[in-house]
């Protein structure tokens, strides 16, 4: 799942190459996502915010998040 998020983020970086504000944000998210276990190290509120930034729909946030923090990802 996190690999998919990285791919989405990479696409968003390319799409926002002329939007300084968003580009800065997505480059920061790119750094955060480098760590496979990053979602175990941040509060849920920021996790959801990052998922929203990556285009995850509101109704899917919980499902995606639960998969990201599943114990099998340890």
């Amino acid at each position: 799942m996190i690999e998919k998020l990285r791919e989405v983020n990479d696409k968003l970086i390319k799409l926002n190459v002329n939007d300084e504000k968003n580009l800065k944000k997505y480059k920061l998210i790119q750094k955060i996502l480098k760590d496979d276990k990053c979602f175990f190290k941040m509060k849920i509120e920021y996790a959801y915010s990052i998922l929203r930034d990556l285009g995850i729909k509101k109704q899917d946030l919980k499902k995606v998040y639960v998969e990201l923090i599943n114990s099998k990802n340890l």
Binding site: K21, K24, K25, L28, I29, K31, I32, K34, D35, D36, K37, C38, F39, F40, K41, M42, K43, I44, E45, Y46, A47, Y48, S49, I50, R52, D53, K62, Y65, V66, I69, N70, S71, K72, L74
Partner: protein
């Protein structure tokens, strides 16, 4: 001559009298209570310094001390001449002289021409030039890290007297005078200690500062020199071959010895877990005896991977010795001394200039055995050198190994997720509050799908508690207790968890109990998390099936549930 110096003293004090100036009480108190001056971290009475140079009787004692006729100089008071009732030790010779000179330069004291001459006599005796003359031609012998050296005094002094650029250049080399620089720095420190140079001579400021920096390991870190030269005689049990392969087989060859030691530690933390039974029994009882047998270590495999502190220690020591040739020391924290299987133990060892401690099970649930599995920063392996540069080098080696094992891309900057999230907070306008009900739903869903060894499962739930709930929510709305359950097969007791949840605030009241309770048993792989009624909880506590883990004489209750888990027996 100061008439106040007591002459009639008991014979037992005759020896003391040689190097102690005995004075009346009012004079003694005057010196003791006078304003102080600080020289190199030592406070000296201004009144005393003045007397030492201005009062002939005091000066005579000082002169004998400076010229080496007496080995110390004290100021004393005796009530009846039979014993020393109170005493002030004078500081080292150079401190006294520097103190007097500071009083002159800050105009707190003026000297007559005669007094200047007297001061000059003393200064000459302990000058650095005189020190060098006395040492000329001498060769100092040292045994450093098992190597014998004979180093002429001149070589060590000329290094200290180098110009600043040349001095810095040599300090950055691997060797000085063909000797490893750590050994050379150690030799210089020993020279000044053995010759009495620190205590007995006026050292020029530039050299004094260099010596100070050397001794603080700021310029060259030789702190590890002559440490861990002996092998610890503790028996280390052989590891199961499969486990050893799991830990070692993918370790690269082309990394440094330090990096290998760190690699092995991290791999062990990722492969092993803490013993649930040992934890549930609070490390006591017959069931824990097998862990105290060193031979039990050889039964540990990647599947049967539950260990306790001294087992981990023993296994790590085994691998360090076998693969890296490293000597170590077991650091026991036990009232029974250094006995395997008692108290808590960590490992200390040295690799080159690095002095390292390793403790993977300190605080158990929040220890490296858990943290390594979630890529959290590890706390149990540390470089204890005082040199900041050495510590930084250790951290860099550690990050490199952690990234290697976690297959992370190498970060250009070493930034933690926490630091990155802090930046994210500043630029994001997308952060929203999440309802407690949704968080609880996520918690129950994730906890119910846990597939981890028991103690790792508890570590994981503690992490979930932290990332899902704000501090206030953890105080008021959701509580988690780990207790022991004795109604089990195969073990004497195992740890289980109780969640207490109340959206409106957890209540302690027994009659109006609106709390919701969940029972968490990671040993039950099919259904680890189930709801449990207050009545069943109370029953289990009453019949002593559920008990407290930890201090037995502290009362502990589950909010809203009658009956305590602990309590005094």
């Amino acid at each position: 001559m100061n008439q106040n110096i007591i002459q009639n003293i008991n014979k037992y004090l005759k020896i003391e009298k040689r190097y102690t100036i005995f004075i009346p009480l009012d004079e003694f108190n005057n010196i003791k209570n006078s304003e102080k001056i600080n020289i190199d971290g030592q406070n000296i009475s201004i009144e005393l310094l003045k007397k030492l140079i201005k009062d002939d009787a005091y000066y005579e004692y000082l002169k004998k001390y400076i010229f080496g006729e007496n080995f110390s100089l004290n100021i004393g008071y005796t009530k009846d001449g039979k014993q020393v009732d109170e005493e002030i030790d004078c500081p080292y010779k150079p401190i006294i002289i520097e103190g007097i000179e500071k009083l002159i330069s800050t105009k707190k004291m003026n000297l007559t021409k005669e007094e200047y001459k007297k001061l000059e006599v003393l200064k000459q005796e302990i000058s650095f030039e005189k020190f060098k003359d006395n040492q000329q031609g001498l060769v100092y012998n040292f045994n450093i890290d098992g190597i014998d050296y004979s180093i002429p005094f001149e070589k060590m002094i000329s290094f200290l007297e180098l110009s600043t650029p040349k001095f810095k250049e040599l300090c950055n080399n691997e060797k000085i005078e063909n000797i490893p620089k750590e050994h050379f720095a150690y030799a210089i420190d020993m020279l000044f200690q053995q010759s009495g140079g620190y205590q007995s001579n006026l050292i020029p400021p530039k050299i004094k500062q260099r010596l100070k920096d050397i001794r603080a390991f700021k310029i060259i870190d030789y702190q590890a020199v002559n440490e861990f030269l002996q092998k610890d005689p503790t028996y280390t049990a052989d590891l199961n071959k499969e486990l050893e392969k799991e830990i070692i087989s993918q370790m690269p060859e082309d990394i440094s010895t330090l990096e290998k030691a760190i690699y092995i530690y991290i791999k062990m933390c990722k492969t092993l877990t803490y013993s649930q039974e040992y934890y549930a029994l609070n490390q006591k009882g017959e069931a824990t005896l097998k862990y105290k047998d060193p031979e039990y270590i050889s039964t540990i495999t990647p599947e049967n991977n539950e260990v306790v502190c001294y087992m981990f220690n023993n296994m790590y020591a085994n691998l360090l010795k076998k693969y890296l040739g490293v000597n170590y020391k077991n650091n026991y924290k036990s009232i029974f001394g250094n006995t395997y299987g008692t108290g808590h133990v960590s490992l200390e060892f040295r690799i080159d200039k690095f002095l390292i401690t390793a403790d993977s099970t300190r605080s158990i649930l929040n220890a490296d055995l858990m943290l390594a599995k979630v890529n959290h920063p590890l706390k149990g392996i540390e470089c204890i050198n005082k040199s900041k540069q050495t510590q930084q080098e250790f951290k860099e080696s550690f990050s490199k190994m952690y990234d290697l094992i976690n297959k992370n891309e190498k970060s250009e900057e070493i930034e933690s997720t926490e630091e990155l999230i802090n930046y994210y907070k500043l630029i994001s306008d997308n952060v929203e509050e999440i309802p407690l009900t949704e968080k609880v739903s996520i918690l129950t869903e994730t906890v119910n799908s846990i597939e981890l060894p028991v103690m790792d499962a508890f570590g994981y739930t503690l992490i979930l508690n932290k990332i899902l709930f704000a501090e206030k929510e953890r105080e008021e709305n959701i509580n988690f207790k780990i207790i022991s359950n004795k109604e089990v097969e195969n073990f004497e007791a195992v740890p289980v968890g109780i969640y207490i949840i109340n959206e409106n605030g957890i209540t302690n009241e027994l009659n109006k109990n609106e709390n919701i309770y969940f029972y968490f048993d990671p040993n039950n792989r099919n259904n680890p998390l189930v709801s449990i009624s207050p009545e069943v909880l109370e029953e289990k506590i009453k019949e002593n099936t559920f008990g407290q883990i930890g201090k037995r004489n502290i009362d502990s209750t589950i909010p809203g549930i009658e009956g305590s888990l602990g309590g005094k027996k």
